[in-house]
Point group: C3
Chain length 350, copies 3
């Protein structure tokens, strides 16, 4: 795998353009979401945003989505919209294989389903437009509300290899999709982490992405599951509410607060943390908590730097240990993953 | 498998008598739940309803529950009650094997546990009565409330084959049980979908049930997991709140909104959608999102017709594609399911 | 396995000292949490509590945590604190292997991470102090709240066998950690139940713990998942809200009410039931609802005695059946667990 594709230190994820549909209205300048931390978003009325996405072959047999020709990554770009917005996506298939883009959570007619079942895909070399709409909650006879589109969703191929896109998913055709409710708190930085069979963002330790933030920055995680295995996502020293925003509405919000959550195929969830809140800076692990998975490479680093961006004591040593010593598969764990693809790296035992 | 047992187009599920315990009080006429869409239920005081359920052998080695002699189906009938109601179930075992009926969520004494552990089962040919009660929430020292019985539950055999009913579950002895809170919004149509090892309602694609509704109808899904494998339930182009009703209480309801949810053995959940809301009519897929499971047959069709019941453009073509082309197992996916029973149908590759 | 380690009838779990950080302030007398059932806790300001935990070898190749020398158990002691409290844990490693203690949910700096990655572990024979802090929710720009530490968490080894503690978990180095919000309802009794690969508290049926309570007692369950397999926890005849407390805040609390929940590696949840509420006393089963797991030994008994502590009719007979007849693996279920460690006991078929 090539660092031009997925930067080892994860910076490309954090710097990656987050495509907010209402970006123009918000005055975003095309880079990371530009907000004052903790400030609610001030968005105007619903907008329609037209974008082009390129599906491209990448080194190492991967295929990715990108917002520019030659700019594909694994995972693909984070796409964002507010409830009520529409995204018109022109997907350019630069490969020689059938593929598509299928979203979760948003509204689309059968032509934009992204499934061969509905004859909705790009033939090799074909360009095709998919339209994703969204809506706010609507009342039900004055009693309850049908939910709107807001959520931490995702998009992925649904046509390469099988009618369910199993081949496309294996190669990296996936990314995060966020639909916000107006007024939602916006983050400083964003991270997409995809547990895809025994890989994280199609990498294995110690080459998994290292995500970075400075102490106190509001970091938004979008976690996505793919493939055919079950997983649990765990982040050290941080926690979140298991609800739509990851935050509590107040003292009577009954939501569970967790730091470990099932992350199974087709599911996604998101949350925001203040990097190092109440724990301080340092190199913190995120990993699958299925023991046979973490032992064989499903782990990575969330590096929380000092507030001024300098390295905190001990962090470089932890990173060095991770490079050289971690993730030797325990023989006792191997039995339980006999059916899983093995991605054991050559680290020496600790 | 026989269309008298499980109608291929799923109509028997949608038309099936939903047994609301308070049916007499509500003036229901014995067919589908008769309500004005979106209207809250107006129910009288708690009632006791006595019913007879027949456990019967079915073609293809299946065993089902039914409300009439000769009327067993897989899944069994949807049973419903309001919090406070009681169901007295006389189970007639017409088979030559030990079996039982065990409910989730409701109240029962050890004699109605449905487990050999509590000596609560029907011997071959035996008739036995099980009593299921329910209750409303109760206050806890003025601070919080112990939950009532309301929920999307299920019932199943707990005695055939093993003391946990593994044999009965494999053969089809399961069904949905709904306990409503007074005032809950009632649906127009109801669907039971059971992920049971590698099968959906004990069928595999393309013979999985096709559920039908007209555009705008309020359709209630009850999803149940059984067997020994993990699954995720995904429905295209529709979403729901991950809470008791699938709807939001209002803008401060923190519930996650999802379109993909873990559906593991012994679990059940339910939700209501407005068929085709914000997306229009069409043939929409529901499937397990574990790639090796969808690729080998865990997928089906939710056909949303036009509001007048006619077929929308493209829907028949999609159905035809589903019949002939779908669900060829990808060789890359096969490894991960080596331990799972294989139910690959003979569809040609797409 | 030795009854000094894990008492077969589970009484040691129920009687085990629950270490409430604010115990002195609350006037607890060192035994079970002393509260009037249903009464909210009245706790004073945040406190710092210093304790010593011993990691010790146990019969049968197990290793456990204990609050006294020679007092280690599997699971370890239930540790409790209120939001704002601090626990200073001096861990004495009496074994010849590297090990640690790593908590979920609470606040700790990298030195207390309990991971080799952060050079935070006890060498063989070493004593080391770990500090766990906690905090209340904090407001976010006047709109929402970053969650506090309250939750049903757990702690475990993160260093024995592999850098993720896979060996320590397999041997029993795990326990429950509860962080309460001031005012939370306190229980009469507490139960820790750990699904660890194919074992419950490192035991298999019929030697799994039998937990006991009298009718109407408020019993708090803390369920924890470990290992490399997926599980679902089911309790017969009782249910709980799937939220932070297991209770509802009121009629508009949207929480799901459930009696079956995924219990996968690294996850924990807790809830309180009134023993036998609305169902009466009796021997009730708890078990993994994955059929191949319950059939091969992942089941146990929750014995609800009469309010005066006497045995209810039929309970002893059920216990006797459980000892002799249960959990013969069905051959049909065996295929699905071919990759799992097998822990089949020698019970005769039923």
């Amino acid at each position: 795998m090539n660092d031009n594709v997925v930067n080892r230190d994860g910076e490309n994820h954090l710097r990656r353009r987050s495509l907010l549909a209402a970006a123009g209205v918000l005055g975003l300048t095309g880079g990371a979401v530009a907000v004052t931390r903790g400030e609610p978003a001030r968005a105007a009325a619903a907008v329609t945003k037209k974008i082009t996405i390129y599906a491209e072959n990448l080194p190492g047999g991967l295929i990715g989505y990108g917002l520019t020709r030659g700019g594909a990554t694994v995972p693909g770009p984070i796409l964002e919209m507010y409830e009520g917005d529409t995204l018109e996506i022109t997907l350019v298939n630069t490969t020689t294989q059938r593929l598509s883009i299928h979203p979760h959570g948003v509204d689309y007619s059968t032509e934009s389903d992204g499934s061969p079942f509905n004859d909705s895909f790009n033939a090799p070399g074909e360009t095709r437009t998919y339209t994703w709409r969204s809506h706010e909650m609507t009342t039900v006879a004055g009693r309850r509300f049908m939910p709107g589109s807001a959520g931490y969703w995702h998009y992925h191929d649904h046509a390469l290899g099988t009618d369910h896109g199993t081949g496309g998913l294996a190669k990296g055709l996936y990314g995060a999709l966020i639909v916000r409710r107006r007024g939602d708190v916006l983050p400083d930085k964003q991270i997409t982490v995809v547990f895809n069979d025994m890989l994280i963002n199609n990498r294995t330790a110690p080459n998994t992405p290292m995500f970075e933030a400075n102490l106190g920055q509001r970091v938004e995680w979008i976690a996505i599951g793919h493939g055919s295995l079950f997983h649990t996502f765990h982040l050290h020293a941080h926690r979140w509410a298991d609800n739509r925003t990851g935050m509590l509405e107040g003292p009577s919000d009954p939501s569970l607060v967790i730091d470990n959550k099932d992350l199974n195929p087709g599911s996604a969830f998101g949350f925001q943390v203040l990097a190092g809140e109440a724990v301080g800076p340092g190199a913190w692990m995120y990993h699958c908590h299925v023991q046979s998975h973490s032992d064989t490479g499903m782990a990575g680093i969330f590096l929380v730097r000092n507030a001024d961006g300098t390295m905190p004591p001990g962090a470089q040593e932890a990173i060095d240990r991770f490079q050289g010593h971690q993730h030797k598969a325990a023989s006792s764990a191997a039995a339980a993953t006999a059916t899983a693809p093995t991605h054991v790296h050559g680290g020496t035992g600790s």
